[in-house]
């Protein structure tokens, strides 16, 4: 048992972090001032952290420093547009921020549209064209038929231009079953994800803080 030494710079950090971890866990018993303090401290620290990251990683090296040295003068434009965003705090000058929004909304509209079109539509469509019978690979053939049935029936489920009657109703029902299996799988994976986060916190409390075992 060699717990972290609170007198050292690094050890003090581990002690504070562990106490804050217990403060947040106290929310499980009931909402209390310790949890509220930890939560507000967290929002403040992370906001300050993000501002520093944006400054030192983007605004300074890519906009302020090169312009100051006379290179990449074009980068003045996004710098000015970025400052326009703050015009909302000046009465009557709020419309300036619309220019900055124009480049954000416009650029991402174009980037996302083409990214989704190629990566999530065409590539996925191409990979869904499967041979329904491959001689010598019976297992794969059955899987391919099942795969295509699931894909087509789920697409029919998300079809809203006709009433769901007769054959369409049956296909859509099959689609719902496939959806439910995929939700079940997603549920299982989400349980696994949340639990591993808790395991990570307990490993932090047991190893760097209390030093009970090595992780």
């Amino acid at each position: 048992m060699h717990p972290a030494n609170p007198l050292t710079f690094e050890g003090l950090g581990v002690w504070i972090a562990s106490l804050l971890t217990l403060f947040i866990f106290s929310f499980l018993y009931k909402d209390n001032p310790f949890y509220k303090l930890a939560e507000h401290l967290f929002v403040g620290i992370s906001a300050g952290y993000y501002v520093m990251q944006e400054w030192w990683a983007v605004i300074y090296p890519q906009c302020v420093k090169p312009v100051a040295h006379g290179e990449h003068l074009l980068m003045i434009i996004p710098g000015v547009l970025g400052l326009f965003l703050f015009s909302r705090f000046i009465p009557k000058a709020g419309w300036l921020s619309r220019w900055s929004l124009a480049i954000i909304i416009g650029a991402y509209a174009g980037i996302k549209t083409t990214g989704f079109a190629q990566g999530d539509l065409v590539a996925q469509f191409q990979a869904s064209i499967l041979p329904l019978y491959v001689p010598g690979h019976l297992g794969a053939s059955i899987n391919n038929v099942l795969f295509l049935a699931g894909l087509l029936s789920t697409l029919v489920f998300f079809f809203f231009s006709t009433e769901h009657k007769g054959a369409i109703k049956g296909t859509a029902q099959l689609g719902v079953w496939f959806l439910m299996v995929s939700f079940g799988a997603a549920y299982g994976f989400t349980v696994m994800a949340r639990v591993s986060l808790l395991i990570g916190r307990f490993q932090y409390l047991l190893d760097p803080w209390l030093g009970v075992t090595r992780f």
Partner: protein, 218 residues
């Protein structure tokens, strides 16, 4: 006129970025490169704006001694402390020995991870209190969830170690992930892609706006 020009600008930039994907010629890829590099900087300013929003929102609560205002003071003080330390320590602020990195490990990393870890408790209580198998669909969901949960952890591997090959628990959970889950998920991916593409088209053609005008009726 204050609204028309930005709207046209949005459409033009969106259209250039759309064409940028199809046209390698520098006539389009030149502006495309510029918008790529420029939007990185403008988004960075948007994050700093987020912190400014926090300042005005919480500052106002403190000014009128609203609910929990002492906690808001802690929030703003810790924000400014982080900014001050970051500026003082200069470009090497993220080196392992700096006070900024110490603050990162002590406050940011620990509390953010713990916030998420809370969800593990809620998942277990929700599984007990709110997981209702009330029809065939919920039943299918539960069966798939049980197989995947069992198949992905060592205990499932131990239980089915001597089962005939092909139907061991890890293999069943893998098959569920690779086949039924995949075909349904791919239909959802394609549907979502169409949704994003149509939203992008509306933004580029300037007909997305009216909904978003604050106070504007549909």
């Amino acid at each position: 006129m204050q609204r028309q020009i930005p709207l046209i600008l949005t459409g033009v930039i969106g259209f250039v970025m759309l064409l940028y994907f199809f046209v390698p010629h520098p006539f389009i890829s030149g502006p495309g490169h510029f918008f790529e590099d420029a939007v990185i900087i403008v988004v960075a300013f948007a994050i700093v704006l987020g912190a400014a929003n926090l300042l005005t929102f919480n500052g106002e609560i403190i000014a009128r001694r609203g609910k929990d205002w002492p906690y808001k003071v802690v929030l703003l003080v810790s924000m400014f402390a982080m900014i001050a330390i970051g500026l003082v320590e200069g470009e090497r602020y993220l080196e392992p020995e700096t006070v900024f990195s110490w603050m990162y490990n002590t406050f940011y990393a620990s509390m953010q991870a713990t916030m998420f870890a809370l969800l593990a408790f809620f998942i277990a209580s929700a599984a007990f209190r709110a997981f209702r198998i009330r029809n065939l669909e919920a039943g299918l969901l539960a069966v798939a969830a049980l197989f995947v949960m069992l198949g992905r952890v060592p205990i499932g591997n131990v239980i089915s170690a001597h089962w005939p090959n092909g139907i061991q628990l890890p293999q069943i959970s893998d098959w569920i992930m690779e086949n039924p889950q995949n075909s349904a998920k791919r239909a959802i991916l394609m549907g979502a892609a169409l949704g994003v593409m149509s939203t992008g088209l509306r933004i580029i053609m300037g007909i997305e706006g009216s909904f978003a005008r604050s106070g504007g009726n549909s």
